[in-house]
Symmetry: C2
Subunit: 330 residues, 2 copies
Amino acid sequence: MTQPRQVPGPSLELIFETIHGFQRTGALKAALELDVFTGIADGAHTAITLARRAEASERGMRILCDYLAVLGLLTKTAERYELTPDSHAFLNKKSPAYVGTAVEFLLSPPQVDPFQDVASAVRNGGAVPGQGVIAPEPMAPLMALPAELLADLLAVEQDAKLRVLDIAAGHGLYGIAIAKRNPNAEITAVDWANVLEVALENARAAGVGERFRTLVGSAFEVDYGDGYDVVLLVNFLHHFDPATVEEVLRKVYQALRGSGRAAILEFIPNEDRISPRVPAAFSMMMLPTTPHGDAYTFSEYKRLLRDAGFSSSELYDLQPTYFRVVLARK
Amino acid sequence: MTQPRQVPGPSLELIFETIHGFQRTGALKAALELDVFTGIADGAHTAITLARRAEASERGMRILCDYLAVLGLLTKTAERYELTPDSHAFLNKKSPAYVGTAVEFLLSPPQVDPFQDVASAVRNGGAVPGQGVIAPEPMAPLMALPAELLADLLAVEQDAKLRVLDIAAGHGLYGIAIAKRNPNAEITAVDWANVLEVALENARAAGVGERFRTLVGSAFEVDYGDGYDVVLLVNFLHHFDPATVEEVLRKVYQALRGSGRAAILEFIPNEDRISPRVPAAFSMMMLPTTPHGDAYTFSEYKRLLRDAGFSSSELYDLQPTYFRVVLARK
């Protein structure tokens, strides 16, 4: 009587869970708004104590917490709720890895509204032009670890002079991670003026402000200069169609010194395009929210890099994150 | 290089999949709109052939189908997509078990919109009064099997005269299943006039129209009469608070003959309220869409039935569906 249904043959479970995906979104958003995870971290472990803390109804809080337990974001023993390792690390405001700000961005209308009509995006092959948004700042809390891992991968510990160009630098964290490791590294960050203000602030806070230069303008139009040892292309190329990606790569090639390296950090699915789950699913996020964006495979990047003139390219996993890096040599 | 990430410690995967639940909803809705599953059943197995059939872009179709494969609703081998047993049975228009109409109801604005502000429902302990909708007709395709299983459970094969009252009968399928098995069964269906028109049509189509009576009005206000052998309460009580449920049960008790039976068919979670997943998650569907609805446990039904005068109650699984039945004797 107490076992979940285990019957062979077709089941509606996955179909209904997929259809009701919006309920998961709504419940997790509400739990963050009502500070449920932080409340549990602070010692409120029952529906009644969590409800009091959030000025909510006990019945409503019980239903919400039970649902979070069904989803695997809480555990429940008798009437007591506990955080899981995931929710403790990422959903609790007291944790340095709290992702609440990123969630607000991911659930903002430009990200969510296009999913009301995915069929039109499938017909068009992409979003209605002009709908795309690029707002990397709220994602910064998620970028600290991959920024360190990319600096590891580039092996920039040495004191040699190193000129780094960071294209669409956003929060600037990737260049800053390099500058912190190599006292002779100089970073040039390309982005819009208002974005670069934040990046410069971050660079100053990290003590590398005097080696952090800014180049204001569109990555497609601004003059990069040349002689760079490393060019960073972090979470940028997925916004564009292959021809535009190649155009950027040609410009990057010109900006590099002989045998300089380009580093493309992205969600890069396997060649089957359906694994691993997280990078593979990223294509669907791009379809209705950008006119031509995609999660390109390594073989696609390899071809585009070769066509842009690069002599070699290699793929690296950035574990434990879901990102991968293509390192290409001029 | 090709394995999904398997690192111990906290992971963002479940959190991001939960936050992005709305993307699953949007993608499955689009796939139904664009006839993807029916197209594959008809022999279109690649993005290009499916795109042509749907007058859609190949790129858009490829991204959609890959995402459906990530979700487990299609399989992919090289560039060829195939249906799974689930999508073949339930998402393909040629299948008698196609659930597309139910999905339209489940994704209608009254069902979806309240999930934009679950936090308010948690604060209130339920929906803003008046927002609830009860529209069982689109769910009829899903009810054929449980209707047969409930008739099995009630063991109504015999020819004895059997008077059945079906409260909030909706499509009428539960009473009709009984009338088809017992030529001496008479069904009285309670519901609103426009709903009963459909039920009566269904009864006539099943050849039991002359034994199908209708009683127009609110289940709370109409006079049921008395002397019934069986009263059906199918997917009705979850809309109300416990006091209202008990009020209905008292009225049902009065309508039954001595040792008659009430049959409550519902999503009934285990006592922990977090398993099995499908009935446990149903509470969250009720919270923002009804003022006081809930998925009650067996111990809650048992207490309410006892307080309403019933002498005994038993719980039955209706496998392979997710429904359970409480049979209570007067």
